[in-house]
Symmetry: C2
């Protein structure tokens, strides 16, 4: 037997022994708790609460970007709805948010073939002079391609980042494509460019540009940046095909106003014997302004509120406290979650388990986690309790979403009923994010998965141990 195979065998054996040992130490859920999980699952599949919440939020509030009048209306909506649903300790936590306003934006090709294309300023972009900026465009695929250009290739020019995002179920295509949006403007400015237009970080062929936040670097000029839709990026790329110079114009009146007041909205289902331990359910109340924020993140807000509501309707009360937090301004700097973590003042360890829903309206297709390995058997038990939902078993390396990242870095375990993101980036950050994009059946399934998982997380008879803050390697 070759040495390498021996090592694998030994490794497998050790893994087996470790997990057998963990299973021995890990206490089992009570029959009553498992029965209640089944009850939650069944009730959720017949429950309209989540859909009604998204309908209400999108109809009565609509767009709610940080600092806007919609943002304030959303906070009032969240407090009112949590009270209506009977949550305890309903309150707001003041958060100061940046207040960027979009204004109007135009993107035009001037030569060789004049055309105007629907555009959106990227979030946080500086505006242009009223007459706009005009320059020759330089088309590159991505940041690596930009860096590979000769010196001065983009000086005084407008850079067109033209890389199409890949469609994936787990959203990994987004992570690979998004750096041109977040870092592209400053990368181009560092090379002397005066503006940026990106092919939207989008999987759709509908003609919607996608907005989303820029992260300007501190040490280079801030230059205007806009996005165009996939079909327009295709058309712009075709303008380059004949080898003539492509000249474009960007006009944008976006600008920063003074920071504004907003708030996290918090409500609870109080625990019983372990009331001091918090299972936190996070989603974000703000949305980008072009759409009405149905899937991003009305759906997450609704899934979490419906989950808590369903649990509060059980005869049994949860052991741990279930806390729903609707975070302020996730989209443009995660102001709400940062304020939440800052306010903890050493109290982070009370947050023993976290859930986040910020990836659309379902369905859930997989159960993943990031728990201390000693609690993996508990995750396995929960997974088995979800069997009728026919989920896949994910790994133990999820990262917190944007809003729970801070708590996760402080060692809080995470459980993740993974929402199916196959179509999420068709609509994400566009005017097309409306209630029509929510499938009520998929949404109910998602609530079922969350409700059963959250409930068992709150009932776990063992201890949710802290997680190493160093992310383990991918398996």
């Amino acid at each position: 037997m070759p040495a390498s195979k021996t090592l694998i065998l030994v490794g497998t054996l050790l893994t087996f022994l470790a997990s057998a040992s963990a299973a021995e130490k890990s206490p089992s859920f009570s029959k009553a708790d498992l029965a209640a999980a089944g009850q939650l699952r069944e009730r959720a599949l017949a429950d309209a609460t989540a859909y009604e919440l998204i309908s209400s939020l999108t109809t009565e509030v609509g767009p709610r970007s940080a600092g806007s009048s919609g943002d304030k209306a959303a906070v009032a909506w969240g407090l009112r709805e949590m009270q209506r649903l009977g949550f305890a300790n309903v309150r707001s936590m003041d958060v100061t948010v940046p207040h960027w306003v979009r204004g109007e934006a135009e993107f035009s090709v001037l030569a060789p073939w004049p055309q105007s294309m629907p555009t959106l300023a990227l979030g946080g972009s500086v505006g242009t002079p009223a007459e706009g900026i005009e320059a020759e465009a330089v088309m590159v695929k991505d940041l690596d391609a930009l860096k590979a250009l000769p010196a001065d290739a983009v000086r005084d020019r407008i850079v067109f980042f033209n890389n199409r995002m890949e469609r994936t179920r787990d959203g990994s295509g987004y992570g690979r494509a998004v750096p041109v949006r977040t870092a592209g403007p400053s990368a181009a400015a560092a090379l002397g460019a005066i503006g940026v237009v990106i092919r939207s970080i989008s999987t759709s062929d509908e003609r919607f540009p996608h907005t989303g936040a820029i992260r300007y670097a501190a040490d280079v000029p801030r230059i205007p940046a806009v996005a165009i839709s996939n079909p327009d990026a295709d058309a712009l790329a075709r303008q380059f095909e004949n080898g003539k110079s492509v000249r474009v114009r960007i006009r944008s009146s976006s600008r920063d106003l003074a920071p504004a007041p907003s708030a996290n909205v918090i409500g609870e289902i109080p625990g019983t014997d372990l009331a001091g331990e918090i299972v936190i359910l996070g989603a974000h109340l703000d949305s980008w302004d072009p759409g009405v924020g149905a899937i991003d993140d009305g759906a997450g807000v609704a899934i979490m509120m419906a989950t808590a509501k369903l649990i509060s309707g059980l005869d049994q009360k949860p052991r741990r406290t279930i806390r729903v937090v609707l975070f302020a301004n996730e989209e443009f700097g995660t102001s709400g979650s940062r304020a939440y973590v800052e306010a903890l003042q050493g109290d982070a360890a009370r947050h023993v388990l976290g859930f986040e829903a910020d990836f659309g309206a379902g369905p859930v297709w997989r159960l993943s986690s990031r728990v201390n390995s000693a609690q993996l058997p508990a995750v396995d038990q929960i997974f088995r309790a979800l069997a009728p939902l026919k989920l896949a078993r994910g790994g133990n390396e999820v990262s917190g979403g944007a809003d729970l990242d801070g708590l996760a870095k402080l060692g809080m375990p995470l459980m993740s009923p993974d929402l199916d993101g196959t179509k999420y980036f068709d609509v994400h950050h566009t005017a097309n994010d409306t209630l029509a994009k929510v499938d009520p059946v998929a949404l109910r399934q998602a609530v079922a998965a969350f409700a059963a998982t959250v409930w068992l997380g709150a009932q776990y008879p063992g201890e949710w141990e802290r997680v190493q803050t160093v992310k383990p390697p991918r398996r």
Copy 2:
């Protein structure tokens, strides 16, 4: 046997005898012509001409509404491309077109829940004062529901027509839904309304409003009219659900300019022994301005030009002359086709057979016609020649599309390879009408069906007799 059954039997017998008699009189296509039809079909299925034409037209010209700079560019494009493809007698025919400009439009709900919704002015709509018009909205389904309201129910109000178009393959849902757009503004104005907003004549849940022409009545005030998308119409309808007054605002800067010069673009594949007989292939060169007119009607333009090009590439030359006419301004009053008919001066009878493509980019799913019953056996022969395309056999009651309607009313027979319109009204008259909506495979199939049918129409060994101008009853 009951009398009714006897009558049916006699009727069936007479029909059989009539068609048997017609079949005897109707000459058969030559083997060479049928072989060439098969060759055309096969070549078309492998030919990229049509797709390249749509790509070129949408990239190099883009939007081309009547009277715009794009309209002029489209005429130049048509002349250039017809020459490049080797057509004979390439020429333009001057046409004066109305010149309406869209300007900017806004639609907002002011109460109970303020929201702004993407909107488009309907084609030809008058604008509003700069500050817009504000009024209580009255929601009705359609024109019948409007007429059923009590007197003064809409006086000084804004009417919201809220009827969703039905999805059909043959486009019949459009005919049933569109009267609120064409006639709704004047119907509402006749009852004292000051403005109209319609649920777009649309089968899509993407957030695109659909424009399209109004026909103002002469005897009532012209009031502004705009369209909102299906998801926004859903949201607006929800605003009515709590019974509170719904207040809305319309702002639009649309206006009429002086009529402008445009042109029909014409090119031919000359006939041989029957060169004086014309088989006319019509499509329209203009498009509505929000999109780039890929499916409406870049596709029709391309299908007809590719058809003629493929026929010109055969060893055999056609007996009758094949004339491609790219009509000016179909969308806002069929100026081009009306000018074409006026210019005929009694020469209409030379147009012995007509084809029109103005229903998207394929595939073709059915072969219909409107020919003299004596030529139905010829249509049957053509249908059999198309067998590999697996089409359905349609009826003999097609109407001319908008552009061939005038010639059809003068008795010209029509043949119609029916384009599949199932998804057409998802995109029709929206900003989303881009090249991304063209499936190259379906488009090639459509060209195959048109090319073989046009060819056989041009080769028919009999006479294409005139058709009664009274439309026969539907069977």
